[in-house]
C-alpha cells in the first residue's frame, strides 16, 4: 500500500514530529488520502475527528463513521490496496452505523451507543497521548536546550587496600621460615628386612633336611605374625633368591627353572 507517492497531499503530515490538527487545516479534503501516513485505522479516525474542529468529547460518531467510510470508499475506487485492519474497521463501523440507526428495542448488548462511546474514549485517549508527546518533545531538553557541564573533572574513588594479617599467621610464617632454613639432616628410616646372612642360614639349613626339589617360596618364613608385612616378605624373597644363588655358586645347591618366570626350585647337592 502506497498512497503518499501518488496522491497529492502535504508530506509534512507524516513528519516525525506530529503537529496534530494544525496540519489538517490546509488539506484538500476532497481528495486527500494518506493511508500510509496514518498508523492504522484509529489514527485515521482521530485525524478525521480533529478536522471537525470540535472537542473529541462532543464529536458526532455517526459523522465520523461516514467520513471514514467515504475515505475507504475513495481508496477502493482508486484501486488502492488497503491494509486489512482499515477494512476490518470499516466493516465494524458500518455495522456500528446501522446499529446506531436502528430502533432502540432491537439492540443487543452492549448497545451501539455504548460502543460508540467506547470508540470515542479510545480516540480521546490516543489524542491525549498525541498531545502529551508533542508537549514532552517541546520541553527544554537536556542536550538541546539545557546543558550539563561540558568537562566535569569526574569523581574518582581510589580503591585502597586495607591489608590484613592475623597474629597467628605472622608467628606461623616465622616458624615456617625458621624450619625451612634449619640445616637439613637426611635420615633414612629403618626398615624391616631379612638380611642375606640370615637368608643363607635359613635356606641352607632347610635344604639339608629336604629330600626333593623345593620351590624357593617354600623357604620363606610362614606369612604370619611379624612376617606378615608384605614389604618384609619381598625382602625375604629377594634375600632368599640371592641366598639360593650363593648356595649354588658354592656348590651346595642346584637350581632349576622350567620356564621364564616359572617357579624356581632348589635341591641340595648330595655330597
Amino acid at each position: 500500500m502506497d498512497l503518499t507517492g501518488d496522491i497529492p497531499g502535504p508530506p509534512e503530515a507524516a513528519e516525525a514530529e506530529w503537529d496534530g490538527a494544525a496540519a489538517g487545516e490546509d488539506r484538500n479534503e476532497a481528495l486527500y488520502l494518506e493511508i500510509d501516513g496514518w498508523e492504522g485505522p484509529l489514527d485515521l479516525l482521530l485525524d478525521l475527528a480533529r478536522r471537525q474542529k470540535v472537542d473529541l468529547r462532543r464529536i458526532s460518531i455517526l459523522e465520523l463513521v461516514d467520513q471514514y467510510l467515504t475515505y475507504i470508499d475513495q481508496a477502493e475506487a482508486l484501486r488502492l490496496e488497503l491494509a486489512a485492519d482499515y477494512l476490518v474497521m470499516a466493516a465494524w463501523l458500518a455495522y456500528l452505523k446501522s446499529a446506531l440507526l436502528l430502533p432502540r428495542e432491537e439492540q443487543e448488548d452492549p448497545s451501539p451507543e455504548e460502543l460508540a462511546l467506547r470508540l470515542q474514549l479510545r480516540l480521546q485517549r490516543l489524542g491525549a497521548m498525541r498531545e502529551a508527546a508533542a508537549r514532552l518533545m517541546g520541553r527544554d531538553r537536556l542536550g538541546r536546550d539545557v546543558f550539563v557541564r561540558g568537562a566535569p573533572e569526574g569523581l574518582r574513588v581510589d580503591r585502597k587496600h586495607l591489608w590484613q594479617c592475623e597474629w597467628f599467621d605472622l608467628i606461623r610464617a616465622y616458624g615456617d621460615v625458621k624450619v625451612r632454613s634449619e640445616p637439613v639432616v637426611h635420615m633414612v628410616r629403618e626398615r624391616m628386612v631379612m638380611t642375606l646372612d640370615s637368608a643363607i642360614q635359613r635356606v641352607s639349613s632347610m635344604l639339608g633336611v629336604a629330600l626333593d626339589w623345593m620351590d624357593l617360596r617354600d623357604f620363606l618364613p610362614p606369612a604370619h605374625d611379624s612376617w606378615a608385612n608384605p614389604q618384609l616378605r619381598k625382602s625375604a624373597l629377594a634375600s632368599s633368591f640371592v641366598a639360593a644363588l650363593e648356595l649354588a655358586r658354592t656348590g651346595k645347591a642346584q637350581l632349576a627353572q622350567e620356564e621364564t618366570f616359572g617357579p624356581l626350585r632348589l635341591k641340595a647337592v648330595k655330597r
Partner: protein, 221 residues
C-alpha cells in the same frame, strides 16, 4: 543578609557544590552523602538550589538525582545547531508518552492505546536512548513484560518526577489514564474476532517501520 553571606557559603555547601560540579553523573542525596562522609546534605542542596535560582546555571533534581545544568532561558545562546538531538519517529514519541503517562505498561497496553501493533524496534530505540527500561513482568496470565521510564528520561525532559508530566493531573481526572480494558478494545475494534487485530501482518502496521516506509514508499508498491 549581607553580600558576604551570599558569597561565603559554609564548607558543606561548598563541598556539595564542588562534588556535583565535578561529577560526570547526576547524584542522589545518598551518593553525595557517601562521598562527603555521610553528612546531611539536604540543607546544603536546598541552599545551593536557592543560590543558583537566578544564575546562568541551575541546580536541579531529576528523579531523586541532582545535577547542575544551564538555565533554560539561555537555550538560544547555547543551542548547537550542528548537533541534532536524537530525532524520534512519531511512533516512538507516542510510545514514550504512553509509557511515561501510564507506567508501568505492557506492550499490549501500548498497542491498545495506539490501535496498532508496536514494532519491537520502537521500544528498543527508547531503551537504547536510556529513557525506557524493562520494569519486570505483570503477574497476569502470559506474564507480559512491563515498561517504565528511567531517571535519564526525567533528566532529559527536565522533570523532577513523573508528577510534573505536562497535563497529567487533568488527564487522570478525565479518566484518560485509566488502565486499558483490553476486552473492551477487542470488542470495540474487532466484533466477532477477538484475535483479529493481533493476527495482522506486523509489516503492515509496524510503527517502527514507519520512517523506512516513508523513505521507500516510491519503490515499495
Amino acid at each position: 543578609m549581607t553580600p558576604e553571606d551570599a558569597a561565603s557559603p559554609d564548607d558543606l555547601v561548598r563541598a556539595v557544590e564542588a562534588t556535583l560540579f565535578a561529577s560526570e553523573q547526576p547524584m542522589s542525596v545518598e551518593q553525595i552523602a557517601a562521598h562527603l562522609g555521610q553528612a546531611d546534605v539536604r540543607p546544603a542542596l536546598a541552599e545551593l538550589q536557592r543560590h543558583y535560582e537566578r544564575r546562568g546555571i541551575r541546580l536541579v533534581e531529576r528523579g531523586k538525582r541532582w545535577h547542575f545544568e544551564t538555565a533554560p532561558d539561555l537555550a538560544h545562546l547555547l543551542r548547537r545547531e550542528k548537533e541534532e538531538p536524537r530525532r524520534l519517529s512519531r511512533a516512538a514519541t507516542e510510545v514514550l508518552a504512553i509509557v511515561a503517562y501510564h507506567e508501568p505498561v505492557s506492550r499490549a497496553e501500548i498497542e491498545a492505546i495506539r490501535g496498532v501493533q508496536t514494532a519491537k524496534g520502537t521500544l528498543d530505540v527508547l531503551m537504547e536512548a536510556g529513557w525506557v527500561r524493562v520494569a519486570g513482568r505483570r503477574e497476569v496470565p502470559g506474564r507480559p513484560v512491563i515498561y517504565a521510564t528511567t531517571p535519564d528520561f526525567l533528566a532529559h525532559f527536565g522533570l523532577k518526577s513523573l508528577k510534573e508530566l505536562p497535563g497529567i493531573d487533568e488527564l487522570r481526572a478525565a479518566g484518560l489514564l485509566d488502565p486499558v480494558d483490553d476486552e473492551m478494545i477487542e470488542t470495540a475494534l474487532n466484533p466477532g474476532s477477538p484475535a483479529g487485530e493481533h493476527g495482522h501482518d506486523s509489516g503492515v502496521t509496524g510503527p517502527g517501520l514507519y520512517d523506512d516506509r516513508l523513505a521507500s514508499s516510491g519503490e515499495s508498491s
